[in-house]
């Protein structure tokens, strides 16, 4: 039982680390448009997003319920499978962060859990049809498409309404509006993404016997710790991805930024209400591309948009494969806490290595710029 307690403590700790990397990785989705249009200074935008991410995590528990009950069978999932899924999601987040790709943390988490549970418990423990397909994959296709359409139509309506005004007052007005739309997007992100971690911790608590499988509602300490971890991660930020999202897809004006953030926030908030564990990355990327394409198709850098789509397509199967592999490696050390301890040390070392390499590359780039 003591070994089990250590294992559940490690799983909860790793889940909160995942939540931190989720916030870190997804900061770009939330603040890039505000920074790109100069509606807010970068550090201010990041701090503001962090606070609203924290608040958003308390608004609803529908998505947590979906992750804890509808994707895999909570009564047949073990702690090591949950651990394997989490480690896979963290590893995928770190890899895509390193290469500057805004892939989905949410789909990495669900893919990782599904892969690990598939190897650990077999296909019967996974609700493929109604859970993975019906509550994750179909909404995953609908959400970015919907955000694309809403943002595109919004920008057409905006240009129609403000068409005759002086550009200066329109820019100033929509920059002020972006403080509101950016805040809503941060709130939406906290509402949907923090809940996925709550759902996974609830799964671990069911596996350990702390929560009943019939009603795995996360306790308050889980909600507070998940909200804190995602807010801290958001504050820590992710500057490479900010660059990709904010300016490399297309150059935005403040009206487009407002339309993209408004569309993204609307789709994510409504989906959270329905309990769909969406990807904020997919949704805001769809909205950003939609707001650019509605103005002028050539304004969108479709090559960069294509790289983002490729990362989306890869995320679920890649994370599932990594989840299966992590579970298998962890299981080599038995069913106790030894496997999670060893794998945690390895993933921490891998993460530190990637951070050090990235910092070294940033220093080299800065030195070259000074010399030039």
């Amino acid at each position: 039982m003591e070994g089990d307690l250590l294992t559940v403590a490690i799983v909860v700790g790793v889940a909160l680390i995942f939540d931190f990397t989720n916030g870190f990785h997804d900061t770009a989705n939330v603040v890039a448009t505000s920074v790109s249009t100069r509606a807010m200074a970068p550090r201010l935008a990041v701090g503001y997003a962090a606070i609203l991410n924290f608040v958003g995590a308390f608004i609803s528990l529908e998505v947590a319920a979906t992750v804890a009950e509808d994707v895999v069978n909570p009564s047949s999932v073990g702690l090591l499978a949950v651990f394997g899924g989490l480690v896979a999601a963290i590893a995928w987040n770190l890899i895509t962060w390193y290469f500057g790709l805004p892939s989905s943390s949410s789909h990495a988490l669900i893919g990782g859990i599904v892969g690990a549970v598939f190897v650990a418990e077999g296909p019967d423990a996974i609700f493929f049809k109604n859970g993975v397909l019906g509550e994750v994959m179909i909404p995953a296709l609908v959400a970015p498409t919907l955000a694309f359409v809403v943002a595109g139509l919004s920008i057409v309506v905006i240009y129609r309404i403000v068409g005759r005004l002086r550009p200066g007052s329109v820019t100033a007005g929509f920059r002020a509006g972006q403080v509101m739309s950016g805040g809503l997007l941060a709130l939406a992100h906290g509402t949907n993404d923090a809940q996925k971690t709550m759902g996974v911790i609830a799964l671990a608590l069911v596996a350990h016997g702390n929560l009943p499988a019939s009603d795995p509602t996360p306790p308050t300490w889980v909600v507070v710790s998940a909200a804190t971890a995602i807010a801290l991660g958001t504050y820590a930020g992710g500057w490479r991805i900010i660059k990709t999202m904010g300016s490399r897809i297309h150059k935005m004006d403040s009206a487009q930024g407002f339309a993209a953030q408004g569309a993204g926030a609307a789709v994510i908030l409504v989906s959270s209400h329905a309990g769909f564990p969406l990807s904020t990355t997919h949704t805001i990327s769809g909205a950003v591309i939609g707001s650019g394409a509605a103005k002028r198709l050539s304004a969108v850098r479709w090559g960069v948009a294509g790289n983002i789509v490729a990362a989306w397509v890869l995320t679920l199967p890649a994370a599932a494969g990594m989840g299966a592999l992590t579970y298998a490696v962890t299981r080599v050390f038995g069913t106790g806490a030894a496997g999670p301890v060893i794998v945690s040390v390895l993933i921490l070392a891998g993460g530190a290595l990637l951070f050090a390499k990235r910092a070294q590359q940033a220093r080299a780039t800065a030195t070259r710029a000074v010399e030039a």
Partner: protein, 79 residues
């Protein structure tokens, strides 16, 4: 076939509510900007009555945006 896999009602609700809220809020905010900007220009030109009308329209549009956000959050947190 798809109806047996996904909760069609919830998905349709997501689509129409997102469209209505996204378009409604952005359109209302654009009206608020037009109202505010035109009110400033008209007041500068000494056309106070027209300026007041635009200011009121802009203010009402802004209030509609804020009300939509508050109602949305209350509905979300109620479930």
């Amino acid at each position: 076939m798809i109806g047996a896999i996904v909760d069609g009602g919830a998905l349709v609700e997501v689509v129409w509510v997102s469209l209505a809220c996204g378009l409604g809020v952005t359109a209302a905010y654009a009206v608020a900007i037009v109202g505010g900007s035109r009110a400033v220009e008209l007041r500068r030109d000494g056309r106070a009555a027209e300026a007041t009308v635009f200011a009121v329209v802009g203010l009402l549009a802004l209030l509609a945006v804020l009300a939509a956000i508050v109602v949305g959050i209350v509905v979300l947190s109620d479930k």
